[in-house]
């Protein structure tokens, strides 16, 4: 079996998502560094042939090329760690996991835009992006507050799933785009639990407390 190749930029939030989840699943990756800033290597003809959207990450596993982070992490789990507890077998828990992964992509995706806008001057209305990201973080905090009262510590139930790891970076990096952690007590406690998942790793901007 060949090791999948991840076209990676260390400061990209979605690349970190893939590295984080692969690490927790125990799935090996070959990292192929792409200098997005200032090199703009993600926009070379070779990279655009892999991903016409001109984004990272890109995963190449044999003939298979994947460019959507949610598809990448599911593929890694299903091929490399099929029985891993982070990929729940129970259909209801798996559905909840998928619901929150979709939330991370669709509703919380503005957080990554806000971060690029704030840190790298990418185009966008920073205040509007911040407000939308804050709304999404509130929804997560409200959800985890209620789960916490019910005695469950993770978004899809009592145990962590891929969804928790998928959601984690946008909250952990929120100070990069001007949103502090003060207003999200349930998220603070949850983030601390996520950090204890075996294989957890950080990226620049997310402090390693140990």
């Amino acid at each position: 079996m060949t090791v999948p190749r991840l076209y990676n930029y260390d400061l990209d939030e979605d690349c970190y998502r893939v590295r984080l989840i692969a690490g927790c699943l125990g799935v090996p990756l070959t990292l192929h560094g792409i200098d997005m800033f200032p090199g703009r290597e993600h926009l070379t003809p070779e990279m655009l042939a892999l991903n016409p959207q001109g984004r990272l990450p890109v995963l190449q596993d044999g003939d298979l090329v994947l460019v959507q982070p949610a598809a990448i992490v599911l593929h890694l789990a299903e091929t490399g760690a099929r029985d891993h507890a982070l990929l729940p077998a129970d259909a209801v828990t798996r559905a909840r996991m998928m619901d929150w992964i979709a939330f991370a992509v669709r509703d919380l995706g503005v957080a990554a835009q806000a971060r690029l806008c704030s840190m790298l001057g990418a185009p966008g209305d920073l205040r509007a992006l911040q407000a939308a990201a804050r709304r999404a973080l509130r929804i997560m905090d409200d959800h985890l507050t209620l789960r916490g009262i019910a005695g469950e510590g993770y978004v899809a139930g009592p145990a962590p799933t891929l969804a928790d790891l998928f959601l984690f970076p946008a909250f952990a990096l929120s100070r990069d785009y001007g949103i502090d952690h003060d207003e999200f007590p349930a998220l603070r406690l949850w983030a601390r639990r996520v950090r204890t998942i075996p294989g957890f790793r950080v990226m620049p901007g997310i402090p390693d407390y140990h």
Binding site: D142, T145, L146, I149, A150, G151, R175, D180, H181, D182, E183, P185, A186, R188, L189, R192, P207, Y209
Partner: protein
């Protein structure tokens, strides 16, 4: 402007041993942290070295360390370690501005300025904290109706006694720390109370009565 008095700044359970969080009272930035023995502390949220927020840092045993250069402070606020100068006996003049800090009724309170006597409130069970984008007056006037205390509109009271800590964050921001007093409360009731707190936040912010 001087701010005097005791202010609730968090529900006790939201600051786990060995963690910290930033809170704001009338614009004053405070770090609340709990040492590993379980004692809570409230200090000015500013490292004397470079002004970094201490709430971005991390707790090690009975010290809190700044994220920026790792300066560590003991529970009295005295700097004990400067990693760049490990042999240095740290001068006594390097210390944090500390505030009063007590826990009562399931909340952490910070005593600012001429704080007066520390509060003593009945034992209570945590429901949730909500952070509302509205002035304290608007939040206070919505509070009785939200928990059924007026008997005029909304649902009937769920329990006899809801105790709410009111934290004036700034002119347009108010935090509420909601607890249930008077003995054991079922988790389902706590969830209903938490939902009412969420509805209160949303209705005050949108101006649409719940």
């Amino acid at each position: 402007m001087s701010v005097d008095g005791w202010f609730p700044v968090a529900l006790s359970g939201m600051i786990a041993p060995g963690t910290s969080a930033g809170v704001v009272v009338q614009g004053i930035e405070i770090v609340v942290w709990r040492d590993t023995s379980g004692r809570a502390h409230a200090w000015e949220d500013r490292c004397p070295h470079r002004g970094m927020k201490m709430s971005f840092g991390f707790v090690r045993g009975d010290h809190i360390a700044c994220l920026y250069h790792g300066w560590e402070y003991d529970t009295a606020g005295q700097c004990r370690k400067i990693p760049a100068h490990p042999e240095l006996e740290v001068p006594k003049t390097i210390c944090m501005t500390t505030y009063g800090c007590v826990e009562t009724g399931g909340m952490i309170w910070a005593g600012l300025g001429d704080a007066g006597h520390a509060p003593v409130t009945p034992d209570a069970i945590a429901v949730r904290s909500v952070y509302v984008d509205a002035a304290q007056g608007a939040v206070l006037s919505a509070l009785p109706g939200a928990f059924g205390a007026t008997g005029q509109r909304g649902a009937a009271p769920l329990i006899d006694r809801v105790l709410v800590g009111v934290q004036p964050v700034g002119p347009d921001h108010t935090a509420l720390h909601v607890t249930a007093a008077g003995g054991a409360v079922a988790a389902s009731t706590l969830i209903s109370l938490a939902r009412r707190a969420t509805v209160l936040r949303d209705s005050v912010e949108t101006g649409v009565p719940a």
